[in-house]
Structures are given as C-alpha cells and as structure tokens.
Amino acid sequence: MTSVPANAGSNDTFPKMLVEMARSRGAAPAYREKEHGIWQTYDWTRSAAETRRLAAGLHTLGFRRGDKLVIVGDNRPRLYWAMGAAQAIGGVPVPVYQDSVAAELAYVIENAEARFAVAENQEQVDKLLEIQRSVPSLKTIVYDDPRGLRHYEGVHAYADVQTRGDEALARDAELVSRETAVGKGADAAIMLYTSGTTGRPKGVVLSHDNLAWAARAGGRVDGLRAGDELLSYLPMAWVGDHIFSYAQGHTIGLVVNCPESAATVMTDLREIGPTYYFAPPRVLENLITQVTIRMEDAGALQRRMFRYFMAHARRVGSALLDGAPVSAADRLLYRLGEWFVYGPLKNQLGMSRVRVAYTAGEAVGPEIFNFFRALGVNMKQLYGQTEASVFVTIHPDGEVFQDTVGKPVPDVELKIADNGEVLYRSPGVFREYFKNPTATADTKTADGWVHTGDAGYLDQRGHLRIIDRAKDVGKLKDGTLFAPKYIENKLKFFPHINEAVAFGQDGDFVSAFVNIDMTAVGDWAERRNISYASYQELAARPEVYDLIQSEIEEVNRDLADDPRMAGAQIRRFLVLPKALDADDGELTRTNKVRRGFIGDRYKSLVDALNGSATSVRMSAEVTFEDGRKGLIEGTVAIRDAATVQPARRAA
Amino acid sequence: MAFFLEVLIGGLLTGVLYSLVALGFVLIFKASGVFNFAQGAMVLMAGLALVQLFEPTYIGLWHFVGVGALSAAVVGLLVLRTVRGGTFAAAKGDWRIHLPKIVAVGAGLLGGVLALAGGAKGWPLWLAIPAAIAVMVAVAWVVERWVLRPLVNQEGIILFMATLGVTFFIDGFSQTLFGSNVYPLNIGLSKDPMFLLEGVFEGGILVNKLDISGGVIAGVLVAGLAVFFQKTRIGRALRAVADDHAAAQSVGIPLNWIWFIVWSVAGVVALVAAIVWGSKLGIQFSLTFLALKALPVLILGGFTSVPGAIVGGLLIGAGEKVAEVYFPVVTKFLTGTAMPGGVEYWFAYVLALLFLLFRPQGLFGERIIERV
C-alpha cells in the first residue's frame, strides 16, 4: 500500500530522517527548483550534505540548541535546508510570511527571541536590517541571493556560512551528527505564528512527533508514495506547506518543486504536473474563471464541444471517480470527452498527473469543487488547523461530498461540545503557544482536547460538517441550532443571490433578507422578457420572488437532510430593494455582512418578517457612488417559503 | 576591323533588346520595389497579343475575336475613367454603379464584332498596337489586383517568387492557348541588308536594316518615357514614389493606382521589345528567357537607373557578341588550345559578377552610407 519507511521509530526527528533518506534513497530527487531555465534537481544526498554544511556554519556563528532561526523568503530548497540545519543542531526554525511588513516581522522576532535569521534576498535583508535597529537581539543575518548585497556589511552570505561549516566539519566531522543524535521526537521542531482573528499572533510550537505523525497519517489516508511530485507555492510560514513539503517530504520522500517566482506559478505547475496538489478555494476559483474567459474566445466548435462534454462530466465524472456504477454508454462518452476536453484541459491546468488534490481553508462552492471532480481530478476537502499539525478530517476515497469536510483521520478523536463547537484530540496536537500559557490553557484542555472555535456536527455518514465560527452560532427560541453564516453561504452558492442575511437568534423561526445579483438576475430576466428599469424594480418583480423562493426551498430541503439543522429552515424571506453596501456600513470593507447593523437599520423589516404581514413599507438612506445620499422608499413584499419535514431520511 | 565593327554593331542592337527588358524591370523596381521576373513573360504576352490582332491567320479567328474584345473592353473602361474623373464609386442603388460593367461588356462586344467584321484579315497597325497595349493594361490590372495587393508589405524575396509564379502562369497560359509555335511578325520593317561606311572600309560594314529600325524605335520609346516622366502629372507622381513611398502617399496618390500605372507602362515597354524582337526572330516562347539576360544588365546599370539600364544593355549586348567571336581565338593565342565557344551563354553574368566585386552599386547607382 504505502511505502512509508518502516523504521520510523528510530528516526524520531527530521534531521535523523534526512540522514536516513540520504542513506536509503540518496540518489532520488528531494528538491527541485526552477532556476536558470531548468529544474535544478537536488537529491537526498546533496540535500543532507548542504544541510549539514549550513548547520555546521551556523554553529560556528554561535547558533546553539534552543535558538530560533527566523526564515523569510519564497519557497526555495536552500530555505528548506535552513530549517533542517537549525533542527539538526537542536534549534527551532521560525518561518515567517515573506510579505509581512517590517512591524509584523519585528513582533515575531522579538516574541520568538530569535538571534538568527536567514533571508532570501535583498528585499528581506533590508527589512531585517531595519528591524535590527529596534530589536537588537537579532544578531546574525544570513542571505541566500547575493544580488545587490555585495557592499552590505555585517550580513553573511549563505554560501560563506556553508564554507565556514566545511572548515568546522574538517576540524570536527561529528559536529553536526552529534547534535542531531541528541534530538528527541518530543523536542520542538518548528514554531509557526498564526495570525489569529484577534490579538497578536501566537507562536504554535509543534514537535517532531506531532509533525511526523501528521505527515504519515495524511500520507496513509491518500496512499502517498516516495517520488510523488508536489509544487510548493504556498508560503513556507503556513502550516500546510510545512506539512506537505517539509514533513511529508522527509517522512515519505515526496519531491518538493519550488517555482521560479510567484509570477510563473501557473507555468511551473504545468511543467511539473504534480501528482499531489493543494489549492485554497480562491485559487481554484481563479482557475475556473480563467478557463471560462479563455473558452469564450474559442471558436464555436470548440465552445460547443466544451459545453457538451462538461455537462456530461458534471453528470458522471464524480461518480466515475468514486467508482460508482455508470452505464457503458456514459463511460464511452466520458472517454471521448477525456480525449477532446478533459485531458487537454487538465493538461493546460497542470493537473494531468494529480492523484490527490486538497482544498481547504474556507467553504468551497459546489460549482468549483465539482468542476474539478467532474474533470477527473481527485479533489478532496480537508479540515485542519495549525494547532493540529493540519490533519483533523479528510475525505476518504469514494466518500467525497462537497458539503462535508470528511471523516476524522485515523488516531484523531472528535467531539462536539454542547454549544456545537468541534473539539479534537490527536497525536498531532501542538505542544503550546510559545510563552503564552494562558492562551494555551484556553485552547487546549488538560486532557488534550483542542477547541477549534468552529461549530459543526457529525452527520449520519460520520462526516464532519462545519457550520460556522462557534461564536457566531446561536439558537432559536426552542433551542434549535441556528447558524446564520452557514445558511447564508448556502444561499450565496446560487449565482442569482449576491448576499443574504439570516435572522432568528432567540426567535421562533429563521427568516432572511436576500440581495439579488444584478448581472445574473438581469440576464435571467432579459431571457424571459421581464422588463425592469432599476435594481429596485427588478428586485420587486414577482417572477424574481418566485426564482428566489425556489432556491430558498432548495436550501430548505438541504437543511432538512440534517436533523441538527432541520429546525432552522427559512420560513419567511424578502428581497431587499437595495444592494447592501459597504458605503452604507452594511458590509465590512472586505464585503462581509454586518448582521447586527443590518438588523438594527432595517428593524421594521425584521419585525415584519417575524410577524405575518405579506408586505411592509420601508424607507432607507442610500449613499450613491458619487457620495450623494438619497432615500429609497417603497413597499417590500414578504413571502413564505415551504419547509420540509425533517428526518425524511431515517438515520 | 570591319568585321569587328560588324560584330560590335550586331551586338549593340541585341543590347537594345536587353535594354528594353531591363527598362521594364527598372520602372517596376523603382516604383514598387518589386523585382519583376515576369518582365520576359510580359514581352511574350505582348507579342502574342499583337500577333493575334495584326495577323490573326496564324492562330485562328476566335482568338482574334477574344483578344479584340478584351482590348476594347479595357479601352472602354479607361475612357470611362478619364471621363468620370478618377473614381467609379457611386451611391448604392444608383444605376451608375453598374456603369463600368456596362461599358466593359459593350466595348468588348464592339471589339469582338470589329474583329469578326474584319474577318481573318486582322487590324491595321494603328489599331492593333493600341489594342495590344490595352491587353497589357489588363495584365497590369490583374497583377496589381490579384498578386501585389494581397502581398503588400511582404519581403522582397516573397514578391520576387510571386513574379516567378506569374511567369509560370503566363508561360503556361499563352502556350495552352497558342501552342509553342513561332509566329513571325511582319509589320513592314525592312530586313534588307545595307552597307555603311563604304568609304572607310573596303566593302563597308554589313548591317541589317531591321537592326537600325529597332534602334530607332527603342530610342523613340526612351524619349517618350522621358517626356512621360518629366511632363505628366502621373509621371511626376511615379518619380515621387521612387524617392519616398511615404511622401507619395502623403500627397494623395493611391499606391495601388501607381502600381497599376507602372505595370501598364512596363507592359508598353514589353510590347516595344516584342515588336523589335518579333520582327527579327518571330514571337516565341523563348522570349521569356530575355528576363534572365536582363538581370546582369541591371547589375551593370544599377536597379534604379534608367540610363543605367540602357547603357548596361548595350554594353552587355556588344560585349557578349564580341566575346563569343573572339574568346576561342584569344584563348588559342594565350594557351595554345582554343576554349570551346558558347561563351555568350555566361559572359554577361560573369561580367556582372566581376563588376559587382569592384563597383557594387552599379554604373549609375549611388554609394550608400550605413548608419547605426
């Protein structure tokens, strides 16, 4: 099945694993980097040697056990080696987001008490030098790319440090291996700073054991093999990249490919054609947008072929991936589509060879998720956190559902608190927040359960469904769970609905405001010869109400599937005659709904929804684009939506 | 000495022909930058058209009628254009938009009937020559419309290859229609021999009268062209184009029209070459190869120089005749064995090659200063 090195026990730290990799698969590629026009390849032997040289060099510069090494830059083999070098002599690497501004970087360096930093290039060195003035504890700066740094003083070139290392190793060949041998699995392996929604970033301390368990567990679930290719294009400071690239690289033997630059990621992705792929939903969404735009310029024949086969793929592609029964004719048609559309498309997107692809981080729309599944890309969702060394739940093969985040990974225990919050316990659970026992105690219970801060529940299939941030989840008067964001997101997956606001906290039932999407609904209306002169007029059309109602009822059916959510179906709704707007304070600047504000502002509407009226007068002030203010007045219709009896499907 | 002079004069008059073809090249090259390999084929075309009209008995009545109709249609269109002042364009729906078609068909019918009415007797020279010119104008129009215009802004070599294609087409077309026969052309130029300078040399120098009249005709043509370029508006426009395409554009002369005119003029030059050559040796397929001989002439004279073309042609014509006659003699004198004859075949080219090595810009070309 999997070819995880068997003697995992004795190799309990990453430096030891690196030595073992160099011994057992020394000539196999470990890292590749697109540099100077080709994929420069470094095998495990070379990686181990480079790491050892740097470790020895850092040691001569005074880097000692327990020291922190700040690493800042794009994904580069030399920066991954720097992580290994720090660990090899008992230090803890602290990768930092390369686009952090100096102040953010300064906080991390100060908090981590880091004396050493490795920077990729002049840009990062300049930042560090600026920080050095206010954080004098930062003593030693090492840089990788010498461009523009020739005349800098007091900073060390990576290559020079390695040369120092060579000299040190010549004097004492066991310098590094001795230090490596001292290391234990329970030692801190890395510190990752999580931004956190509130307050200062916290340094999550993960041990070698945490990471090694996570890397192997994830690998086992999806059958990763030595030699699987991965493009590491997400920041090194993000736990995902650390697990996928560094930890799984060392435990399983993946090949980590570093793109030439951020601008060439798409090209590099296409060249490498990874077998193991991760992308956050926004990246996937961008890909689809690009596909759509480019297809619009294609010839009529190509366009028709594309539409025809994509429709077919949506019908059977996912089923084929799951191994579900599909008729022979459909299979044949799919094969044909593979030849004409799916294959070339996957090739263009660099996904021809993908065996496992993950998406995570936020809710992914069904359109997006299913697009890739339909093409035959084994796209899955996973749910994880820095504090868990990523893996909490994952979609097992054959059980991929867009609306869940999968089943717990082996060795992970899940429980749902009374308030709906998801808690987990696993070998991957972090040791502590660095220098922050209060926060640690708040998050991790004495017996090792970690609060995720997310509300969710396990459905009948044993899959975890995440509803919302726990603090946003409320209850109806009768105690039914009410997760407004969950409902709103479900509504927003419909192209006709731009924004939605759900109400019901401590109420009798759930009701909603809906904002139509002007483009999509306008287009829909035109094709039906429904005339309208303004947004307000369009929003008030009974046909539009019918459309929205049907969509709400679809959401209700969905909700009814789930006993815990069934009571929170939308009973009544209205379509707002104006678009919610950040200028009116209704949305945040990042376009998130400000539910409380809206509830106050349109109190009369909310009250009417909670009552039984079929229409309500409203007037509201609007800010126009040029800054003028105006008044919108009128009567807004309120409709009842059909709800579905829960437990339609007996568990 | 007398023999040498006879050879020289014979050669000079062959040279006149080379000059005429080279002149056609130069005109087109100057105005459009096209290296027109089809100039030789145009001579053939012009000759055949003239033979059709002048002595239809050779080929057949229906060819005569066809060529007659075509030339009349062209003349009709040209007259129409002159009368209406430039453009055929008219408002949509206006019946006058069809005027060109009506005129062309009408004039064509008239020409056809005229040919038929004359029976197999052919047209008189004063009618046949303008009609042949009209045919060449039609050729120019076809080339401009179907070859040059689609290839505008292409590299020189592509245009050159296109004219080679045109050459193939004209060759194939004329031979498909008229076969590969030789058609003597007798427009009344005397072929009698005559003696010159009897007082200087014993027995004088034997010269063919035809050669003399050929020279005269060529001279008249050159003079005519000079007047055309110096005195007419369109001639001046042509010279402007030769100097600077952009400048010519900016004074409002459509480039397409310029090309059409210049190809027409080259057609006229081709007709003159055909008359002279055809009177001497008959109109035949091998006229196409005149184009090849004109190339070294251009090297000597320079691609853009009209006097160069004339002088170069005379030089080459005389030179190769003299070389042909004296090469075996000289080699025998120098090496003891006579080199074989047939030097005429390559002499012009080797002369041009040597010339290139020492004066690349030709006799009348200007030295170019390169800039970076």
Binding site: L129, R147, Y152 | -
Partner: protein, 264 residues
Amino acid sequence: MSAPRTRTIGDTLLTVDRISLSFGGVKALTDVSFDIAKGEVRAIIGPNGAGKSSMLNCINGFYHPQQGSITYKSVKRSQMRPHEAAAQGIARTFQNIALFKGMSTLDNIMTGRNLRMKTGILAQALHFGPARAEEIEHRLAVERIIEFLEIEHIRKTPVGRLPYGLQKRVELGRALAAEPELLLLDEPMAGMNIEEKQDMCRFILDVNDEFGTTICLIEHDMGVVMDISDRVVVLDYGKKIGDGVPDEIKRNQTVIDAYLGVSH
C-alpha cells in the same frame, strides 16, 4: 537602507585624442578629446546631431575618424573593424533597437557569447562532446544574465513580439553576454516610461557594481545622467564644450547656454 555605492574607479581605460570625423565634407566630430576611466560610468550628452552616436561609432570601430587616435587599454589603434573591437571587450547597444528579430530572447543573448565559443563546424554538426558541453556551459552563463535582468518569463519568446522596454533589456543582455570591459549604451532609456527608466538605471548601476564593467552612455534625460554618471562629456555641433563631474557640468555656463538652458 542599502549601503552607499562603494566602487573603485581606476586608471584610464580609453583615451580619445583629438578625433575628427566627417562625411563627404559634413563634419560630424571636430577635434574631440576625452578619456574613460576603468570602472566609471561616463555619460556623453549633447543636443540632437551633436555627434554623440558618431563618437560611439568611432570607439567601436564602425566609423574610422580621419584624424586623431583612440587608445584603448594602452594600445593606440588606427583602423579597426567592429568585430575586432568586440573581441577586445567593447560591447554596445543601439539607439534604435538592433536585435535579431527572428530569434528568441535566449538565442539573441547567446549570440553575445559567440566570441567565446570555439568549437568547429564539424563538432557542432555532430552536436556531441565538446560542442554540446560548450552550448550548455554558455547557456548557463546566459541564464545568469537572464536572471540578472529579470526576463525569465520571456526566455523563449521571439524578440519581435516583445514590447519596447523589454527589447531594450534583451539588447542590454546581449551586450552583457560578451562580458565586456567597456559597455557603450546609446540612449538606453529613450522612449521609456518612468518605471522602465528606473528599472534600466538600476540594471546599469548593478552592472557597474556587480561586474565592475566600465560604462559609457549617451542619454537625453538629464536627471538620469546626473544621477548615475561619474563624469560627463558634453558635445555640441561635434565639438566638446564641457567635461567633468555632474556638479561641474550643471554649473558650466557654456553647457547651460548650449543645452541645459534650452531644454529647461
């Protein structure tokens, strides 16, 4: 944040001594003398038609001055073909981009390496052994230049399709590929927007810094010239009217009258 540019400006690399050049009676240069020191950035400025480009053309052997001499690396020379100048370490770029339009960025820069490529035709035809090794060795050198100039993304694009600013950069790359000692730049920033100019300035200074290449450039943008050059020569109507460090030039009354005064 960056440290100040600390460079060593050394001995004289090239001396132009009383050069005169004319084309059929039209004087392009009259009795011009100046020198270029090793490691410096030397600018030649002057109004249009002042003879700046002719000066560069003399230095790299494209024009042969009728009078005067040019001493390069202590060797006085009279007649020299441009390719000989190139062999001696003089590279240049052109006012109107002179790239090889039918070739890719990579191939264009590779041509800059041709002086260093030695394998014979037969070996190249077999593309084996030394010829292959040589291609690869020089490809690496070219890739470093590509990285230096940040043109990775257009590596294999035919240069004819590139926008103007990038073409200028590729041309600089081709000149750099020869690893010249003296780099002549003929209006490297002509027709560029401010951002492109800043990039180009950075590259020029980096070349001077990183490789120690001596640079002689013609430029119209006074701000740029005063910023990046160590010394400036001013030509007007083919005659030298000023020579010195930027501050001196700014104060030189003749120069102000002839040039600066006019344009500002």
